[in-house]
């Protein structure tokens, strides 16, 4: 497998501002390997350090320590070479709203050293590809969120980068636009690009990414294919809810010894039980709890999701970590 991006203990500590001068350790010694041709997902809640990592990898921000090789070039020693071969669609996007999509695209091509005639041709092509014909000659200020995002994505790939970084490409979009972007991102992969995207949407990581790194508080807590990550959890998860801490504790004690439970994970007044055959084991769980006179409030069965992975690694739920 070809490695297109590799980091070694990449770290960013922001000097504190204000009176307390509290330092922010945004990224703490991240080690990553991204394979050529894959869609690599960076999944984590707000403030986890995703954008900071991307800013370092795209030469915008100097790491406090650590190193990285991006598309075969040393990030710190040869940033200009890195720039020539990567694309970056930041969370803010960065389209010039005072100009039209076409003007934006032509200027972007030129900054990458593409000759004028070709720049115009490329602009036309991208306007076509991202279905921007309808509004491509209007100023970007007038675009809807989804239209604007299409232009942002097009701007990131005018120079056919081998590696493109997308920071939360679908945040704030309606479900229909999100589905459209998922298709377009898959198309980038089919065109031979490697995609490195960040997201805090579980579904996005699950549906789109070949491999996912889960990041929390600046640290990578797990990296693997989505299937492998979920497989580690167990086949299915039973979630049992109780009315108070005491009951949860008691239930935990009662269930801990059971052989059929592969992993048991408490979260607030809930217990997550990871088992092979949840459907037939649910009655068993209830029987055990009943015997101990423990009141069950809720019980549910689900396939393990990336959220279960996140929960096990961090003790919090990504859904509840909220955004």
């Amino acid at each position: 497998m070809d490695i297109i991006l590799q980091t070694n203990k990449l770290t960013k500590t922001f000097a504190g501002k204000g009176r307390q001068k509290k330092k922010v350790e945004a990224v703490k010694g991240v080690d990553l390997q991204v394979h050529k041709g894959e869609i690599f997902g960076f999944l984590g809640p707000n403030g986890a350090g995703k954008t900071t990592t991307l800013n370092m990898l795209t030469t915008l921000l100097a790491p406090t320590s650590g190193e990285a090789t991006v598309v075969g070039h040393d990030l710190l020693k040869n940033p200009q070479k890195v720039r020539e071969h990567i694309g970056y669609v930041s969370q803010a996007g960065g389209a010039d709203t005072s100009a039209t999509a076409k003007e934006n695209l032509v200027l972007q091509s030129r900054l990458y050293g593409i000759p004028s005639a070709e720049a115009f041709k490329k602009a036309e092509m991208l306007i076509d590809r991202f279905q921007m014909k309808e509004f491509g000659d209007r100023k970007a200020r007038t675009y809807s969120g989804g239209q604007r995002r299409r232009l942002d994505l097009a701007l990131g790939i005018v120079h056919k980068p081998v590696l493109v970084f997308l920071d939360e490409p679908t945040t704030g979009l309606d479900p229909q636009s999100r589905a459209y972007f998922w298709e377009e991102i898959k198309r980038l992969k089919n065109d031979g690009m490697t995609v490195f995207l960040t997201t805090h949407y579980l579904e996005e990581a699950d549906n789109l990414c070949d491999r996912v790194a889960i990041i929390d508080h600046g640290e990578i807590v797990a990296v693997d294919t989505t299937q492998q990550l979920k497989k580690q959890i167990g086949a299915e998860s039973i979630t049992v809810g109780f009315s108070n801490d005491a009951a949860t504790e008691k239930a935990k004690a009662a269930l801990s010894g059971q052989k059929f439970i592969e992993k048991l994970f408490p979260q607030e007044n809930k217990l997550h039980l990871y088992v092979q055959d949840g459907g037939s084991l649910m009655p068993e769980v209830l029987r055990i709890l009943d015997k101990e006179n423990i009141q069950v409030q809720t019980i549910g069965l689900s396939k393990p999701s990336l959220d279960d992975v996140f929960l096990q690694k961090t003790g919090r739920s990504l859904r509840e970590a909220g955004v």
């Binding site: 954008t51 915008l60 970056y88 930041s90 803010a92 010039d96 900054l111 701007l155």
Partner: protein, 252 residues
Amino acid sequence: MKFLKDLWYLFVRHMMKTLRMPLWLFIGLMQPVLYLLLYMPLLKNMSGGAGIPADEIAKMFVPGMLVVMAMGQLFAGFSFIDEIRVGIIARWLVSPASRLSIILSLVGSQKITLFLQASLLVFIAFLFGLHVPVLGLVLTMVMVLLVGVAMASLSYAISLATKDESALASITNTFYLPIMLLSGIMLPISVAPQWIKTAALFNPFYYAVEGARCLFDGDYGNTMVLKGFGVVIALCVLMIWLALRALKKMAA
């Protein structure tokens, strides 16, 4: 050369943006008109008793006003901060575009506006009876544009470092007034008390204003002309360097 190409394409982009906001261009051009229309008659009446001819008054005040106008380029950063915020600058920084061309294209496009403003001011001053030698006027324009380059660069440097309009506003407002007063723009330093005269010697704009007054007088050999250009060029280099450094350090 990539640097020159980037410079040109970015410059064109900034000019397009300016031309698309004719209201701002109009307000920018109104400024010199207001300066002269409201200020010159005042001076005329003031000087009435002393019998100073209108030509002399204009010669004294127009160079100062031109430098004030150039100092107004300190406000160039305001629309720029918005561009930082929406990620345009970060997008350019991720590309292989020359960093120096990013700064110089911005600074350069502001000079077009400044040149139009300054020309308009001089034109109106002519209507008020100003007489200046052509060479003196041309050199003064160069001086004024150089002051503008330094001020716009400083404004971009502050914007890049703070990314905050209110910070830019308080910094510029704090320095604008004292520097303006100490440069003898509105009234000549020669009538000021000694301590102000001393303070003015440390103010680069004092040299610019005095230099421009000599040029208006056709007194090209005056050391103030050389000092004026020397100080202003040094200031330009320093400010462009500051802006470039701030750009390279800017985190998205």
